[in-house]
Symmetry: C2
Subunit: 137 residues, 2 copies
């Protein structure tokens, strides 16, 4: 419970990599995967998700690769999480047709939703910029 996925971890590492070692150039998935010891194919999926969300930008073809699509100040951890994992749902209730047996009488949905928004707010208050500053120290 309450654990982030590896894909998210890969994505977060990739973003900080681009923000520190990818300045003024594009970086290949191969370079990042080698450097960080990740699966190249799998990291590639994460990069594609980040690209679709505008967090990364890509250049195709030989000499291609990725760079950040926004300034580190404008990318939050929440952005990365949503890009890779989709909108968060702490509980299943109410997602599409998924309502449990006691949906109508359920007492917790309200609380769980508030909780989810608070967690989301935590992820939202850290940008890559502030994350990197903390690391420097």
């Amino acid at each position: 419970m309450l654990q982030v996925s590896r894909k998210f971890e890969y994505g977060l590492h990739a973003v900080t990599y681009l923000a520190t070692k990818g300045l003024g150039r594009v970086v290949t998935v191969k370079e990042m995967a080698d450097e960080m010891g990740f699966s190249q194919e799998f990291l590639s999926k994460a990069m594609q998700s980040l690209k679709r969300a505008g967090i990364a930008a890509s250049v195709q073809g030989v000499k291609g690769g990725y760079r950040l699509g926004k300034a580190p100040e404008e990318i939050t951890v929440a952005d990365i999480a949503i890009a890779i994992e989709g909108e968060p749902h702490l509980v299943r209730c109410g997602v599409k047709a998924d309502r449990c047996e006691i949906f109508s009488s359920c007492h917790h949905r309200g609380y769980m939703n508030i909780l989810q928004h608070k967690i989301q707010a935590l992820l939202d208050e850290t940008t890559i910029h502030t994350l990197l500053k903390e690391i420097e120290r």
Copy 2:
């Protein structure tokens, strides 16, 4: 990512059930499972976890069942989560021998740990008592 398990949901429902409809008596798993439409066997596992944590108390034998093991003011959502899911680990790093390829040079562990503690604090600040008060409104 970041979704609670059904076992936790079952457990939370069971605890609020005991706190509202289980006053001055013991409640069987069968009653709760029927009332809430859950699997009796599975809810039973959750109750056993809650019992081991002291959140619920049990009476064995015919006429047996469960009641709360503490006052609703003394049970937090975090207590229930830990009883059922064990200690939370937002990331896998450092749990037992599980260190990823870049453990020694990893930049995020510190941040993720802080994040985890903040989430934990959110779960810790809601007791069953306050949860029920919110529901009443």
